[in-house]
Symmetry: C2
Subunit: 243 residues, 2 copies
């Protein structure tokens, strides 16, 4: 049978989702415990990797097993073996042709920031700091052109081997809550560092360090250097994956 | 001159506010850096201690100095020396008779919980988990009698040497936000573990493990054992001190 798991993790102490040789990854941590429970080496396949230090509320991964243990019991048992910063929040059987990566239709990322001249210790782990002043209306104006289907090569870090950089964004929401600015971006797929470059560019625009038409010019020219810096991993979390 | 500082800290990795011999405390960490900056051993006096693992958004402490450095510059300089989990968010001069502890009129604590059968890795550091089902109306009903001036000896852990256990609470707010229940308690003073015992007792009442009149019976009899467990330190934060 093919099972799917929804995973929440605090990515602070991991090298990212993907198994690596010399650093602890979320994938390896789950696979090791799941394999012990199933008494069989088991590989899990995620909707996509998340980078070092990036969090997830709803990462999705599938795996195959011939175990007869009900998924809710399996979830409970594996959770007792996992460290506190990783939990399987849901597990259920899916059709054999379901694939966590290839069947994914939409992903939503959330990026949290707070606007302050002083670092906030209570938010340092899950937020990025933004130095005031920030003009949110300018950011919203600059975000508009990102929605829709575009070649996002200007919003992709070098080192990506993917050729086709056309993606579709369904929304780029910018929500102000007190001194916090929360970005929520939903799309059919994301390039390497794409959300962090979008947020960094919008913040630079909001702070008046870049013109408001920067995002449009990046889409038009494909030039990464026109944008703002890649914002820190700690503010980013994979919120959900839709199938 | 007497200066006051407002301090935010993530208490996870500290033995508490108060300087101790064998464990890192928030007080010691700040005093050490401030003393280096002022080139003079300097003691800071807080509004009160916070326990091991308890956080603060607005702890207040005063100290005396003959430095001519403006407080905003001093704040900035000391912050650059502090670890990321402690920051002085404000610093200013006060009257020489101001005392961070004795001049304090009101304190507000916030206690954060989420209701879930599964531990939430993204909230494990700053929240306590509550297992469903929880009847919030029952908790609100039980919280009512706590407001006002009472002898709170039943809401105080043993080991406290304080004789007078009469305190006044101005409000016990219970706020539901999605799957989270946030407690905010304001009073003229708090006994050892008082907020954590109040929350633990209200949660037990909300889950139907204790009768709704438990809080009133605790006030009437002064018996700690009637209540729920002392809830974990991680969910608690000193929000603000009023003078």
């Amino acid at each position: 049978m093919r099972y799917v798991m929804v995973v929440e993790y605090d990515g602070t102490d991991y090298s990212g989702w993907q198994r690596q040789d010399n650093a602890p990854s979320v994938q390896q941590t789950i696979e090791d415990k799941l394999s012990i429970f199933l008494q069989k080496k088991t590989v899990i396949v995620a909707s996509g990797r998340t980078d070092k230090g990036v969090h997830a509320y709803g990462q999705v991964a599938h795996f195959d097993t011939d175990s007869t243990v009900p998924p809710s019991n399996m979830r409970y048992a594996v959770n007792t073996m996992l460290p506190q910063d990783i939990r399987i929040v849901d597990m259920y059987e899916v059709a054999p042709d379901f694939h966590a990566q290839y069947s994914a239709k939409r992903k939503t990322y959330v990026y949290k920031t707070y606007v302050s001249r002083v670092l906030s210790p209570m938010r340092a782990r899950y937020y990025a700091q933004v130095i005031p002043e920030v003009d949110v209306e300018r950011m919203k104006e600059a975000a508009k052109c990102l929605v829709g289907e575009h070649d996002f090569r200007a919003f992709c870090s070098t080192g990506s081997s993917i050729q086709n950089k056309v993606r579709e964004l369904y929304r780029v929401d910018i929500d102000v809550r007190g001194d916090e600015i929360i970005f929520e971006i939903e799309g059919n797929g994301f390039l390497y560092n794409m959300v962090r470059i979008i947020v960094g560019t919008l913040v630079f625009i909001g702070r008046g360090m870049l013109p408001v038409d920067t995002t449009q010019r990046m889409l038009d020219t494909g030039i990464r250097k026109l944008g703002g810096k890649t914002y820190p991993a700690c503010g980013l979390a994979l919120k959900s994956v839709k199938y």
